[in-house]
Symmetry: C2
Subunit: 337 residues, 2 copies
Amino acid sequence: MTERAHAELDGLALGIDLGASKIELGLVDGTGRIGERNRLDTDPDPERALSAVVEAAHHLLDRARRDGAKVTAAGAGAAGQVDSEGGILRTSPNLERWTDVPIARRLADALDLPVTITNDLNAITLAEYAHGAGRGLERGDGDLVVLYVGTGVGGGVISDGRLLEGAHGYAGELGHTALVAGGRPCSCRSSGCLEAYVSGWAIAVRAREAVGDDPEAGEILVQKAGGRDRITAATVARVAAAGDPLARRLVEETGRLLGAGLVSVIHVFNPRKLVLGGGVIDGIPDLVPAAAEVVRERAMAVFLEDLEIVPATLGEDAGVIGAARLGRLHAAERSRG
Amino acid sequence: MTERAHAELDGLALGIDLGASKIELGLVDGTGRIGERNRLDTDPDPERALSAVVEAAHHLLDRARRDGAKVTAAGAGAAGQVDSEGGILRTSPNLERWTDVPIARRLADALDLPVTITNDLNAITLAEYAHGAGRGLERGDGDLVVLYVGTGVGGGVISDGRLLEGAHGYAGELGHTALVAGGRPCSCRSSGCLEAYVSGWAIAVRAREAVGDDPEAGEILVQKAGGRDRITAATVARVAAAGDPLARRLVEETGRLLGAGLVSVIHVFNPRKLVLGGGVIDGIPDLVPAAAEVVRERAMAVFLEDLEIVPATLGEDAGVIGAARLGRLHAAERSRG
């Protein structure tokens, strides 16, 4: 799917952001604006969850029809490994019963719309590329990477205007690339991944360890969190912002580690824009310039000439906007044969 | 450039493999077979080197014309960072005077042929994809990664049938991605890169250090190399094959480190085939199964379902074959408008 086959389709597209804790639905126009929207808690049982999605979607579609608007396609982004061609969520790290769920077919049958699904980060990447931080790239053939640092770390890649999907749609797992091979255990089967150092859960683990190593230096962190085991990345962010030396050291380390990860991403993809988003970035915006400094010191010079490292701009709406865009693009491609 | 716009052009294409120590030229047919060929030493002065290339190329072209063959295009792969759109070799790690050399224009003017240039590993990747280890992938939309472990470490990526180039053509520097952030100094501006652990030069550095740490265990290595500072990756390979415990340990470590690097590549690209080539792989073929074992243990399961990790098959001819193919593909695209 190329962005050149862009979204000339009129009308609205339904975007669905299937997260581990909540599901967002929205009707999105061709400019990336969300109109009517809806939010559900994610049921651990996929069949029950999809029934609720269908109901919520019908609600939105009925309202659109009453208003005389045409909804032409739907897209969904799901947290996990998505077989994009088959429309199947293969596995989801935080939803163990969501294994081999044929989401696209299930929704297409129930909604009578063409439905395309992808990984949640791919949806976010499409949204930031077309309507967010990526705007201004050469139309249709830009090179952009999105790295999301939240509870976990995920990524998405636009190469020459196209979403990088790999053989089955699983590509772009930038959080599960080596940062320190043989290092900290990761949430995946490996160790030493970027996620095991800079994600929200990893910052919490590193902070708890640091406090254990030096309880005196960690006093404020423990106090503000209400206990050592309750320290989160948000505690670290808050306490660092107030000037606590240990928390600041953790943030500085995180910036350097993230920067080392970005150097890899840049050498692999030679992007024009590298977009950083997610809860940890939003909570500790200083990480963006700190990581960018490491990149300027460490990446090969030719890669830096017109590279921009920028924060994401669409926030939590990106998933719905990008899922809708994906649905729209695929429907447009299909209608052209 | 898609592989779908495949090489229907009849006739021959000139392929040029511009390496740091030698330059290979060959006339290649549409099936990837090299006919007439030629080899030069690489002159450190780019102008003198390109004059020699032009002379050698004219020699090949004249012979082809006398035989009634038509040469329709030329391509070159150069060791370094290549601005593919501008046809310029920007920098080359081992040829310091080869900076901002407009190779494509210089050759096109002198040879009166359309000339396209790319990075040497991209050329190798195109060759292995179309005519080597990648054969058998779905025609035109395969996902394949080539990782070359030689003196340095380089890579090339075919995503959905297209060469991954990035914004300017510099993409695919898989050797300069983090393996152990903050670790061993690399040949680039960074440290801890994959190249700093598994390349030929890095194996030599690691072996010399290991011998320094334990001279007794290193006795055979030193003896076979003719001195500690003369130990190379080839010495390690030879002595390990003869059963020396220290050399074997170095090879085993290299396999594990390479495997950790492959896990990253697999999580990023979700390839169907991962092709390993280069002098170190050729010299220590056991590295392929050793690294593949790490992949089976560490990569996420869905990525492994139909992944094949295979050795490259075209050897040292790959650069010429791929460069010719690139020239052919671009000329075919251009002639279509």
